[in-house]
Amino acid sequence: MPSDTLEAVSEIRELSYAEAVREALGQAMEADERVFLFGEDVGVYGGAFGVSGDLVHRFGKERVIDTPISELGIAGAAVGAAITGMRPVLEIQFSDFITLAMEQLVNQAAKIRFMFGGKASVPMVVRLPGGSGTGAAAQHSQSLEAWFAHVPGLKVLQPSTPHDAKGMLLAAIDDPNPVLIFEHKLLYKTKGHVPPEAYRVPIGKAAIRREGTDVTIVGSSIMARKAEAAAERLASDGISAEVIDLRSIRPIDFTTIAESVRKTHRLLVVYEGVKTMGIGAEISAMIAESEVFDFLDAPIIRLGGADAPIPYNPVLEKAAVPQEDDIVTAAANLVRRGEA
């Protein structure tokens, strides 16, 4: 087939977020026999959210392994496998269950490279379906990414599009260090352009989803998508919002945020995790401490999750995290009135 036809095909090809993750897993496993999947119900059942799908049939039970219900066991086995040279990719069925694996991730995976002077490393990837909006209540709906962004030695990603979900997962599998990828459950069915080849999206580089001049809205994962939709509505109201999709929480692309705020003079940070002590606090402080402080024309505003467990009641569940309307209102108030 001539190459221009290939390109034409790749331009129009759309996949869902879940399909894009599956394609990345399949391509990584084809390219490198050290890569294997590990998790509860990732095999025959195809994963709680259908992400691993038919991979068990393509690669067999030796490489797509159903584990007992023990997150600590899964994580410990993955750390061990990674140290001995394998490239484990584990799925924590709901990101909330990561609490059971904290010891292995925080005290072992994150530390080993440093404590052994670089003689050992832990090239493992943890995929964590997270976030609210599915009626799964307080123990299955959290956004705990900030916990891990607090730990040196871990990388924390939050891709928002099918394109990034694939490219960042492949980059994470390549990475010689432990990487956690938080995948928002509501994004799994969203569709977008995904090139068929095995491409990489660099870790630690934010994407400017929309350029604007009046206010910078920073978000990641589903909040980046909500911010984009909000920016569209703000534009029809005469407000030009710049939307930055962080993609990576740690390392964080401070330069892109700072350059944007220098231009727009206003910053709104949106995140689904609990507002208090969250990612927004870090970004606000980074800007306030930097030379960009002198370019602020309004207070930095955070829109974050409520200081409460995610409610089961669907109305309250929606109210507990920032929605598109909240972003529109906060950004418009910030631009027009100088406060949120």
Binding site: T213, S240, L296, D297, R337, G338
Partner: protein
């Protein structure tokens, strides 16, 4: 630093609230979370809690009086803080007037600055401070339009443009749809170069030249749109004989020459007459403040003028207390200050009533848009000899049209008509002013 207790916004569309009852009195000790007063809105009564623990001082707000949201009503002095009286706002009375029509976007915002204790300092954004620093502008001369009187970039830019020469205001072609800042702001802020011009240029080439609003034009546009949108205007027109006023002006000119005062103009005479009769019409010398009428004690008359294509309104401060020579001198000073750009924003706004005279351009009559938050504006047309009936005969008399635009939220038709009747009487028989 004492903690400011403000009248909070407890309802989405709330602009003013009324303190129904104070639960504390001057000097009381409160703990954070204690109820300190009850606030009434048009929907409910709510309790307001102390934002900090300490001693309540300088309770400023009375019960039962509507107060703008964000206004400080008391201060909490923390332990160890000298409970001296904060510099009681000497400017408090002046603030209403100083709430300039140029820099005051929200009538409720401006008075707060001067009302704060001296120790709480000036409110300005980092960007405003940077711009002021770079342009050697004293922020204390500005009035902020942001929340609680905060000075922002737009306030500084407006002040810089007022100060600048018109040549500096280079218009810039901007692709439609992008938000334009004025070039002076770019230079002043010394920001990194931006690519407003590159990138997404609209492929449809629109016809003509697109000139972004200057900061002043933006303020004028916002304020007048706001006025037309929120103030239900109504208009009363009177055709008034100007023979007596004309004679009086001639006599005044000779007298002013003798005492070395500038020659009086018809505009000043009308301002003088209006200032005198406004004393008897408090509702015309009033402003809208949220859901309340602010009756001004002082009469500050703004005179609409044009400078380099911009509408500016210098104010004859305390016009009610000026005699004709004093007002003529003050008017001459304002005109000169405007031409030389030495007037401060405070001198360019905050009137309680406005006069716009387009008679010198041959305009017969017109209706003016009220300068918010004022309640009325007087539009003056040219004086021209017209046939009128006098004692059963048709005679020629110098006549002029006066049109009063009033905000029907605070001024009723009869009140406006009474003002117009007094205006006619005073202009046609100036001796009634004696």
């Amino acid at each position: 630093m004492p903690i400011e207790v403000i009248l909070p916004k407890v309802d989405m569309d709330m602009e003013t609230g009324t303190i129904e009852a104070w639960h504390v009195k001057e000097g009381d000790r409160v703990r954070q979370g204690d109820t300190i007063f009850e606030i009434g809105t048009n929907k409910a009564v709510m309790e307001v809690e102390a934002p900090a623990s300490g001693a309540i001082r300088n309770i400023k707000a009375e019960t039962g009086v509507p107060i703008s949201v964000g206004t400080p009503v008391a201060w909490i002095y923390l332990d160890g803080e000298a409970a001296t009286t904060p510099s009681e706002p000497a400017a408090a009375a002046a603030t209403v007037a100083a709430a300039t029509s140029l820099s005051q976007a929200e009538a409720t915002a401006a008075p707060v600055i001067a009302a704060a204790p001296a120790s709480s300092g000036l409110r300005a954004t980092p960007l405003a401070r940077r711009l002021a620093r770079q342009n050697s502008l004293d922020l204390k001369t500005l009035i902020g339009t942001g929340p609680r009187g905060r000075i922002g970039e737009a306030d500084v830019t407006a002040a810089l443009i007022l100060r600048s020469d018109p040549q500096d205001r280079v218009s810039k072609d901007v692709p439609s749809g992008s938000v334009a800042s004025t070039s002076i702001l770019r230079d002043a802020a010394n920001t990194a170069p931006q690519d407003e011009g590159s990138g997404k240029r609209d492929c449809r080439q629109p016809e003509g030249r697109l000139q972004p609003f200057s900061a002043i034009r933006r303020i004028v546009a916002n304020r007048l749109s706001e006025s037309m949108r929120t103030a239900p205007h109504f208009y009363l027109t009177s055709e008034i004989e100007m023979s007596a006023a004309r004679d009086l002006l001639g006599r005044l000119a000779r007298r002013h020459e003798r005492i070395g005062a500038p020659k009086p103009s018809l505009t000043v005479l009308i301002a003088r007459v209006a200032a005198r009769i406004l004393r008897d019409h408090p509702v015309i010398n009033a402003s809208v403040e949220g859901e309340a009428t602010r009756f001004h004690e002082r009469i500050d008359i703004g005179i609409a003028m044009e400078r380099d294509g911009d509408l500016v309104v210098p104010v004859l401060r305390d016009a009610g207390a000026m005699d004709m020579p004093a007002m003529t001198r003050e008017f001459a000073r304002l005109r000169e200050g405007m031409a030389k750009r030495t007037l401060t924003p405070a001198e360019l706004g905050g009137g309680t009533f406005t006069i716009s005279n387009l008679g010198m351009y041959g305009v017969d009559a017109f209706t003016a848009i009220i300068n918010p938050p004022q309640g009325a504006i007087l539009a003056v047309g040219r004086t021209v000899d017209k046939p009128v009936g006098r004692n059963g005969e048709i005679v020629l008399r110098p006549m002029a049209n006066f049109t009063l635009s009033s905000d029907h939220r605070i001024v009723d038709g009869v009140a406006a008509a009474r003002f117009m009747a007094d205006l006619r009487e005073a202009l046609e028989n100036p001796e009634v002013l004696l």
